[in-house]
């Protein structure tokens, strides 16, 4: 099956920043992404879990974008300012996609 080179960008960031992230992505022309819920985690600021919590101040989401390699830099530049000062990690993995006409 014909596959195409792409990048899988995984952004783990505070849930409260969701709209800023998606707006920045849109501004960079990235309109395809998927948001996964996150249950809990641990980092320099300690361990946390969503269980029982009603606050929107804690909790994270994972935003996954599949993009053509040529658009990676624009994407990273767009989200970098949002990440700044905020809790979050970004990883970029080489991947292959079906139906590249969609990206």
């Amino acid at each position: 099956m014909k596959m195409h080179e792409a990048k899988r960008v995984e952004i783990m960031i505070e849930a409260i920043m969701e709209s800023q992230v998606t707006r920045s992505l849109a501004a960079a022309g990235v309109t395809g992404f998927t948001i996964l819920p996150v249950l809990g985690g641990s980092g320099r600021s300690g361990q946390w879990t969503r269980e029982g919590s009603v606050s929107r101040a804690s909790g994270m989401i994972a935003v996954i974008c599949l993009v053509a390699p040529t658009r990676l830099d624009a994407l990273l530049e767009a989200i970098f300012p949002v990440l700044d000062d905020h809790i979050g990690v970004v990883s970029v993995t080489d991947t292959q996609i079906l139906r590249a006409e969609r990206f």
Binding site: I16, S45, G46, G52, S55
Partner: protein, 326 residues
């Protein structure tokens, strides 16, 4: 004094408080007892809707007068001003706390904790003490202004955080404010008739849901305490216990000036004394990401909230009765 103690004693042995203690103990003992996030949020929506609706229906019944507007206005002013007192108090009690952290904490204490308000009004009702229905509107009005003061405090130094349009939306159209005010309006429009229709959902089981919600809050507070070692110094704890008293005093003054009933004065004290754990923390994460959430969440949820719940409310009630002649 005796009366306060007996009131506090009775309060401490109510199901509502004991449920909080149960949750706190379970979390400190590292039990895996938890509520699913969706259930916790569902209960919180229920409480906001119920308290808003009942407040509105009560205004419909007793009529709104100028005092409603005055009380809301005074609430807004308090919410703007209290952060300054909180900032100064925290900076003088706990010198290790940075200016940004202190500003963020200050924002929480200018705003209010709706569940403390709910617990206080439940206790008032149990004692047969009436209060002005529009105090719910005052509560809603006090949620947000403190955020502006906190940001001003944080940026005086010039670090340049400004309130963007998005942040304004985040602040003003925060789900809990919208639900509280919306339910208040619906209650006002539909009045006693509307309340009668849905009372079996929002009146009768209310206290039971409050118990379960406090059980959950106890769990979350206990978890916070367990993770917050290191952040919480003696000065910080002192602030968490003194600031409610400062707030309550200002609240009492405001309530008396407004000519509220003893119940109304109690609630004004409770609003001024309590610290936000929903609206403000979210706004602070967006606007002051460098402020440490472990500090402000622990203070609001694990120190000031239990203090108000157990000792504060009965104390404010006694003081208000003495001053306003309950």
């Amino acid at each position: 004094m005796d009366q306060i103690l007996s009131l506090a004693g009775q309060n401490l042995l109510s199901p509502v408080i004991l449920c909080f203690v149960l949750g706190l103990s379970a979390a400190l003992a590292r039990s895996d007892l938890t509520f699913p996030e969706a259930i916790a949020k569902g209960m919180s929506l229920y409480l906001l809707f119920a308290i808003g609706f009942k407040g509105g229906a009560s205004v419909a019944e007793h009529g709104a007068d100028l005092r409603l507007g005055m009380a809301v206005l005074v609430g807004v002013v308090l919410s703007f001003l209290l952060p300054f007192a909180a900032y100064l108090l925290l900076r003088s009690l706990a010198r290790g706390v940075s200016a940004t952290d202190a500003a963020a904490v200050a924002g929480h204490y200018g705003s209010i904790s709706i569940v403390t308000f709910v617990a206080a009004s439940t206790l008032l009702q149990a004692r047969g003490i009436t209060f002005e229905g529009y105090m719910v509107a005052v509560a809603a009005a006090m949620e947000a202004p403190a955020i502006v003061s906190a940001l001003w405090l944080a940026t005086r130094g010039g670090s340049g955080t400004k309130i963007t349009p998005d942040l304004w939306r985040e602040i003003m159209l925060n789900g809990s404010i919208v639900l509280l005010l919306g339910a208040f309006t619906i209650g006002w429009i539909t009045g006693e008739r509307g309340l009668a229709e849905i009372a079996p959902l929002i009146v009768a089981p209310f206290k039971g849901v409050l118990c379960l919600f406090l059980l959950d809050m106890g769990i979350v507070a206990g978890r916070g305490l367990r993770n917050a070692r290191g952040v919480i110094s003696a000065g910080v704890i002192a602030f968490g216990l003194l600031m409610p008293l400062v707030g309550a005093s200002v609240g009492a003054l405001a309530g008396l000036l407004l000519g509220l009933s003893a119940g109304g004065v109690t609630l004004m004290m409770v609003l001024a004394a309590s610290a936000s754990y929903i609206a403000v923390p979210a706004a602070m994460r967006v606007a002051l990401p460098k402020a440490n959430p472990a500090l402000y969440l622990t203070l609001a949820l694990a120190i000031t909230f239990p203090f108000n719940l157990t000792l504060g409310i009965p104390l404010y009630m006694a003081v208000a009765s003495a001053l306003a002649g309950g």
